[in-house]
């Protein structure tokens, strides 16, 4: 079982590495650098002017919400597979040891994630709440103990008696209350108080877990949780590339039928409009990108940074929506029907122009909301419209040459 765990860990790391190449593609990395840079600049400016005396009322609740929310980043990773319950039937004890290894690995990883979360919020709590290094250490330990408690509870419901499920629900409520109390205590009164309460909580859960009889793995629950976790991961990767495990079912969306253009004369255009609306991979990607883009434009400070991010975002959206060109590549009628290749290119250009046009309008509205300066918004509209024309008129045809040639 130890070998099996190591094997699965290695395979899991290979999977993450494989998909990270698509996530960290050139376009996304450039956009990410700009976004992170913009956020960092804004954050630094915000924190610089803070002192405990003039700190705004929102500092401690925002820090508290951040820390509490971050507690739920990272869960137990068991790497279980559907055939396991059948093949491991004679290895009940060994499978328990496998889950223990998964628990400890997940715990260390989750603690690492908590440190990252704390690191992000630490400038705010140090300047805004007047904490010192020891206080920060205590806060960090509180966060780690709370996360440890959460992970232990997850482990328990996978491996202990079923009749503790009800008790576990009650314990989750108590834990929830304890987490909130710890963080309020730490941020408003004393970090060491929060730490003590977190330690007490961990102690109680630890002792009760130890005293509970082993049940063996709750396979149904464990597999469901692992599948759900992997599905979330695959859905994230699916934003950047086609993941075979994630092909959302087509949505009918009948209400859109009357709004969709008939596109007479160009079967590709006809098909693309409907594909965009009904294929959740494509429509979901587009709306998510638009939503995030608008949020970024609203939150990033600085006219120039905002403008640069908007320009980059348009480029990013176009590249992410290029998947439309390949969505029907396996349909043999693309090659058998007397379709004209030029029609496909024109259709793609037209659709992309509309998609980027939609993003442009929303980003400009975002800029107007933040700046309330119609000259700036107007300028942004002109710039993004020109970018749209350049991208769809020059850049897209070159990309299409590669995309459509590789399909043959």
């Amino acid at each position: 079982m130890n070998d099996l765990w190591r094997q699965r860990q290695r395979a899991y790391r290979r999977l993450l590495l494989k998909y990270s190449r698509y996530v960290l593609n050139d376009h996304f990395v450039i956009a990410l650098l700009f976004i992170l840079g913009g956020f960092s600049l804004g954050y630094a400016q915000l924190v610089q002017n803070l002192t405990p005396e003039n700190a705004a009322w929102w500092v401690w609740p925002v820090s508290g919400i951040w820390l509490w929310g971050w507690l739920y980043v990272g869960s137990i990773t068991t790497l279980l597979k559907p055939p396991d319950p059948i093949f491991w039937l004679p290895q009940e004890k060994a499978s328990g040891q496998y889950i223990q290894r998964a628990f400890w690995w997940s715990l260390w990883r989750n603690c690492g994630l908590q440190i990252i979360g704390l690191g992000i919020i630490s400038p705010l709590v140090l300047r805004g709440l007047g904490m010192n290094s020891w206080d920060l250490l205590a806060l960090g330990l509180t966060q780690l103990l709370l996360k440890g408690t959460l992970t232990l509870l997850e482990y328990r419901i996978l491996t202990k008696k079923r009749n503790v499920q009800l008790a576990t629900k009650q314990e989750y409520l108590v834990l929830f209350g304890t987490q909130i109390s710890c963080l309020i205590l730490a941020l408003r009164v004393t970090c060491w108080g929060g730490l003590a309460l977190a330690a007490l909580c961990l102690g109680v859960v630890g002792i009760t877990t130890y005293r509970l009889e082993d049940y063996g793995i709750d396979w149904q629950l464990a597999l469901a949780k692992e599948n759900s976790r992997m599905a979330r991961l695959y859905r994230f990767f699916n934003l950047f590339t086609d993941v075979p495990a994630v092909q959302g079912s087509i949505k009918r969306r009948k209400l859109w039928d009357k709004l969709l253009p008939q596109a007479k004369g160009n079967p590709y255009l006809y098909c693309y409009y409907r594909t965009l609306v009904r294929n959740p991979n494509l429509s979901g990607t587009y709306f998510r990108l638009v939503g995030v883009g608008v949020m970024v434009v609203l939150l990033i400070p600085g006219v120039w940074v905002r403008g640069a991010v908007a320009v980059l975002w348009l480029y990013l959206v176009m590249n992410q929506m290029l998947g439309l060109a390949s969505v029907h590549r396996n349909n043999l009628f693309q090659y058998v029907w007397p379709l004209q290749p030029l029609q496909q290119r024109k259709a793609l250009q037209k659709v992309m122009r509309y998609l980027l046009g939609g993003v442009t309008i929303l980003l400009v509205v975002g800029v107007e909301i933040v700046t309330k300066n119609w000259l700036l918004s107007g300028g942004m509209l002109v710039i993004l419209s020109c970018e749209n024309a350049v991208l769809t008129g020059f850049y897209l045809p070159q990309k299409m040459d590669k995309l459509l040639d590789t399909q043959k």
Binding site: S249, I250, P267, R274, L332, P338
Partner: protein, 245 residues
């Protein structure tokens, strides 16, 4: 109509079909028969332009596939063995796609479509997505989409799989109607009894080569089996060849 001359080709450098020569004339239904792996699907894939021949020519009414694929394909309609549909398009929209792809007269095409939809009991499913169709229903959609075109040549690969008996009868009637109207039909099938009844001529493949061709009488002569049915001739000729799967 369709003229295939010295056709050799395959999926890689190794040829699967070798030096095929045959024709399909206007108004006739030609059955393409052979064992699994004989080269029927490979031949069809060459005829519809999915594969490029190593050597040889494929012409439809004098238009070469290699020289003018667009014009060639405008005269051709294909019904694959496994239904292939656009998951995001309804039945109605598939028909609209075909109308646009083949530049058909909209009203006439819909009139033809309505007739076929009624025949195949799909009239009330125009706004359904393919995910809601059974395999047989998907096959009927493929047949409808092919038969509303004004194609000169219909290439049909194993059309009977998944169809209920009524649909099979209606399909065969539609095929005969198209042939009577002047179209040529090349039909690949393992259902030899049906092929014998409906096909005018046969092309029998084995190991990528034509081992017999012609009417049933011609095949009886070639197999030296007077009065034999197509199944017996088929078994005799293919066992002679000693084909391995």
């Amino acid at each position: 109509m369709l003229t295939v001359t010295h056709l050799t080709g395959g999926y890689s450098r190794l040829p699967v079909i070798k030096d095929l020569n045959f024709t399909v004339k206007a108004g006739e239904i030609v059955g393409l028969i052979g064992l699994n792996g004989a080269g029927k699907s490979t031949t069809i894939n060459h005829l519809i332009g999915l594969l490029t021949p190593h050597t040889g020519e494929i012409e439809l009414n004098g238009i070469s596939l290699q020289a003018n694929p667009q014009k060639y394909k405008e005269q051709l309609a294909y019904i694959p063995e496994m239904p292939v549909l656009y998951e995001e398009l309804t039945l109605r929209e598939h028909i609209e796609m075909v109308i646009m792809a083949y530049h058909l007269d909209h009203d006439q095409a819909w009139q033809d479509a309505q007739h076929l939809l009624h025949l195949f009991r799909l009239t009330n499913k125009l706004d359904w997505l393919p995910a809601n169709f059974s395999k047989g229903m998907k096959q009927k959609v493929m047949i409808t989409c092919a038969f509303i075109t004004q194609a000169q040549l219909f290439i049909i690969d194993e059309p009977f799989l998944g169809l209920d008996p009524l649909a099979v009868k209606n399909l065969l009637t539609s095929i005969r109607t198209k042939a009577d109207a002047g179209a040529g039909v090349l039909m690949s099938t393992h259902v030899l009894s049906t092929a014998q009844t409906y096909c005018d001529r046969f092309i029998m493949l084995d190991h990528g080569q034509i081992i017999a061709h012609g009417t049933l009488t011609d095949l009886q002569t070639q197999a030296h089996m007077a009065d034999a049915n197509l199944t017996d001739i088929y078994l005799a000729l293919t066992q002679e060849g000693g084909s391995d799967e």
